[in-house]
């Protein structure tokens, strides 16, 4: 029996609903994980990363164009 025949006879009428549930489960898991109060401090301190590399950088050298 070919894969095409197996898939054709598999009765996948609820396929889209399974996909939706799969996503919904993943979404709830992520939201719950990210927005737990206990993680707030841990996560929010990362927000400064783009800003914290502008400190003094010494020494400098010259590069010709």
């Amino acid at each position: 029996m070919s894969l095409t025949e197996i898939m054709s006879n598999a009765g996948l009428s609820g396929y889209a609903e399974i996909a939706l549930l799969l996503f919904f489960f993943a979404f709830v898991l992520i939201v719950w994980r990210v927005f737990r109060p206990s993680r707030k401090q841990e996560l929010e301190r990362h927000k400064d990363l783009p800003l914290d590399h502008d400190g003094p950088s010494t020494p400098r050298e010259r590069r010709s164009e």
Partner: protein, 770 residues
């Protein structure tokens, strides 16, 4: 602009803090801004080229006489415009911001300067290849994937080089946490690679000619799985990465909510990949796939607006800066544009809205409202911010940047207002019936002629946008001119990972019990610190989502009921189809009649999935500037087509179609027909005797078509000209579904067991028949 590079000098011991007692070891390094400057210039140059191509095709739509030559016609230049602005302008903008921000966020120089250079020059070579092939008709006929197979291979190679460089930088980074902007970059890199490779799988039929390995419904599905996600993972996620880095930099404060950015990332990654089928509502695509695409598109509202709000609220407490800072002005409008476009996109995916908007300028307006503001303005804002830092001198003129902002903003407004109006106007005209129940505008050209004033307004709007871009280029050029004789190259110090100066975060207590351990998600925290694992898992998320849609589309036979009377095109018709592709006719003509009364009244019976089982590639189209051609065969005599191709306005005075007189004067290349047939046969098209005798069969049919034209009063001696192949193809369109089949000796009908007669071959899903 060649920049000579000298090795970074060692830090004098008296200034090296790592030599002081009690200080942990720090690495000293510098960032590679040479490649950033190169990508910046490429962005500006290709941006102006791409915008000007857009202006040219806009003028051609309003004034068809501006189709000056075969290589300068709308059908060939429109793909050049889209490729130039997406892959050349936006692509180089992504690389500019990515190379700058990645090094700084990871506290590491790029993995390899050589790979950076190969990436830069390889990408520019690909862009030049596109500019040299598309105007001459070398195209795969798949939107945003037009480039032929050798260039596709080059794109894959250069993209892998880019990926290795970024992943290598991640591996050697000195910052433990990978900032969310990098997540967006990683997802973009892996997903674009997957989309590009699988959508472009094809069988070569010559040095610059190939046929997609997929046919009909499957090809349409793969194309819009790619097409939509090209927007998602080339024009959205990498730019979101840029937003999450450059917006805080420009605003001088951190992103509003880091937690919201994480949810934004994961929900986009999970959802975007499903949404492609909304481009194929009411076509022969199975109903379930179309509905799934709509559902996920509507759900995209939430994360998209979450991201937009996160971006805008980054300015909390700093809104006063927007008044004086052109960088922030550009970014605020960019993020607002993102919000508007991502509100409208889900709305357009709703089937009832899509029924009106599909094939009209509404979609063009949607794309441009997003691209001109979100991609364009974010790029302008980013470069205005970068230029003083990269060229180490103040911006030449803030006033000029302000002028750029206002001129371009006004240009966007003119463009989108005109083209939204054009889209809604034409959509409503197509579906209008008079009081007797007949089409109110039965002549298609009426619905185009009404749009011409709006097309001229678009030309004005686009021109203003280009004027702004020229001011921008001049401003950056003058800034560059004022650069120092030599650039400072700061030496940065940071502890390596793992290192004493960067201790790992305190371990999180491990809950008792397997379930508690699972839901505590410590495993996810670990993934975030492992770039390769994170990359693999992001890839898996994308691949699994794709397979949920692709596997049933390809493997469930009932999705594409085949039709007994549908047979392969004859060799001459195939040659005509190749000319149709070469001239880019699919840019203006669809071949997919939707199951609405206002469509079947105008064009004929609605299209069935089984009609395109030999269509490599599918040519359903996405825009109707001309009428649908799915049932064109037999509507007009051969001579009508000759006259129409030579001068469309001689037949239909208000037509905007380019003239194709060269078809009647150029010789058809019978020598390549056999290789084309062989390639199609390799893909499983049952070509019968044509496998050994394609050229002779083509010559015989060409003589018949030429004789018919001559007998009708047309020119004699056309049997060797391209126009006979084009007419043979035109006259075949839609005939098979009516029971009229091709005439190749030995050509077989579909052999699968679910072959049904033409009369009963309906659409695959329950929503198809209306």
């Amino acid at each position: 602009m060649a920049e000579s590079v000298r090795p970074v000098a060692s830090i004098p011991p008296e200034r090296d803090v790592t030599q002081r007692p009690g200080v942990p070891r720090l690495d000293s390094f510098s960032y590679d801004d040479v490649v950033v400057r190169k990508f910046l210039w490429a962005t500006i140059i290709w941006g102006i080229v791409g915008f000007c191509m857009g202006l040219i095709v806009a003028i051609q739509m309003a004034w068809p006489a501006f189709n000056l030559a075969p290589w300068f016609s709308f059908g060939r230049l429109r793909p050049l415009h889209t490729n130039a602005v997406i892959f050349a302008f936006a692509g180089n903008a992504i690389f500019t911001g990515l190379y700058y921000s990645t090094q700084r966020l990871l506290k590491a120089r790029m993995f390899s300067d050589t790979l950076s250079k190969v990436h830069f020059w390889g990408w520019q070579a690909i862009i030049v290849s596109a500019a040299l092939t598309l105007p001459f008709g070398f195209t795969q006929a798949k939107e945003y994937a037009e480039l032929e197979w050798p260039i596709d291979i080059a794109i894959a190679v250069v993209w892998v080089i880019f990926a290795v460089n970024v992943i290598g930088t991640l591996v050697k980074r000195r910052e433990r946490h990978i900032y969310v902007a990098i997540w967006f970059y990683i997802a973009s890199i892996v997903t674009v690679a997957i989309l590009h490779i699988f959508n472009n799988l094809s069988i070569p039929a010559g040095p610059l000619k190939s046929y997609s390995i997929y046919a009909g419904v499957q090809d349409a599905f793969m194309q819009w799985w790619y097409g939509h996600n090209a927007v998602a993972f080339f024009l959205t996620t990498p730019f979101l990465g840029l937003m999450y880095y450059f917006m805080p930099k420009a605003a001088g404060g951190p992103v509003f909510s880091y937690r919201l950015s994480i949810v934004h990332f994961w929900t986009l990654i999970f959802m975007y990949i499903w949404a492609g089928p909304h481009h194929l509502h009411y076509t022969a695509l199975p109903e379930w796939a179309s509905t799934l695409g709509m559902l996920f598109s509507v759900m995209l509202w939430a994360p998209s607006w979450g991201g937009m709000i996160n971006g805008l609220l980054t300015l909390r407490g700093a809104w006063h800066k927007v008044v004086d800072d052109p960088v922030l002005k550009f970014m605020v409008v960019a993020i607002t544009g993102y919000g508007m476009a991502t509100f409208e996109g889900p709305m357009l995916s709703v089937k009832s809205v899509n029924a009106l908007a599909h094939y009209t300028d509404w979609i063009i307006a949607h794309v441009h409202s997003g691209a001109l503001s979100w991609n364009g303005f974010l790029t302008f804002g980013m470069i205005y911010w970068l230029a003083p830092r990269l060229f180490q001198t103040p911006l030449f003129s803030r006033k000029l940047a302000e002028a750029h902002f206002w001129i371009a903003s006004f240009g966007i407004i003119l463009y989108v207002v005109a083209i939204y109006s054009a889209g809604v106007t034409q959509g409503l005209m197509w579906r209008a019936f008079d009081e007797t129940g007949r089409l109110a505008y039965p002549d298609f050209v009426e619905t185009v002629a009404r749009l011409i004033p709006m097309y001229w307004v678009r030309v004005a709007g686009g021109s203003l946008y280009i004027v702004g871009a020229v001011l921008f280029a001049y401003n950056i050029f003058r800034t560059w001119r004022a650069r120092p004789a030599t650039y400072d190259v700061p030496v940065v110090q940071a502890p390596p990972l793992p290192g004493a100066a960067a201790p790992a975060p305190a371990p999180t207590p491990v809950p008792a019990g397997a379930f508690a351990r699972f839901v505590s998600l410590g495993w996810h925290r670990k993934w975030e610190g492992l770039p390769i694992t994170f990359t693999v898992l992001t890839t898996l998320a994308v691949v699994i989502a794709s397979l949920f849609e692709i596997i049933p589309t390809f493997l469930i036979k009932s999705n594409v009921p085949t039709i007994a009377s549908v047979k392969p095109l004859t060799p001459l018709e195939l040659a005509g189809r190749d000319l149709y592709i070469r001239e880019g006719c699919f840019n203006c003509h669809s071949q997919m009649i939707r199951p609405f009364r206002y469509e079947t009244e105008r064009y004929g019976d609605y299209s069935k999935p089984g009609e395109s089982v030999y269509e490599h590639p599918f040519l359903w189209g996405s825009r109707r500037i001309g009428p649908d051609l799915a049932r064109e065969g037999g509507k007009y005599p051969d001579l009508w087509h000759v006259r129409h191709f030579q001068d469309p306005r001689a037949i239909s005075p208000r037509s905007v179609m380019p003239a194709y007189p060269h078809l009647a004067t150029s010789d058809l290349d019978f020598g390549v027909i056999q290789s084309r047939v062989d390639a199609m046969a390799m893909l499983g098209v049952p070509y019968g005797d044509a496998i050994t005798d394609a050229a002779a069969l083509a010559r015989a049919q060409a003589s018949q078509v030429a004789a018919s034209i001559a007998q009708s009063g047309g020119d004699a001696g056309l049997e060797t000209r391209e126009i006979v192949a084009m007419i043979a193809y035109m006259q075949r369109l839609g005939r098979d579904a009516q029971g009229n089949t091709g005439n190749i000796p030995g050509a077989a009908a579909p052999t699968t067991p679910d072959v049904v007669p033409a009369a009963t071959a309906g659409p695959a899903g329950p929503g198809g028949a209306r």
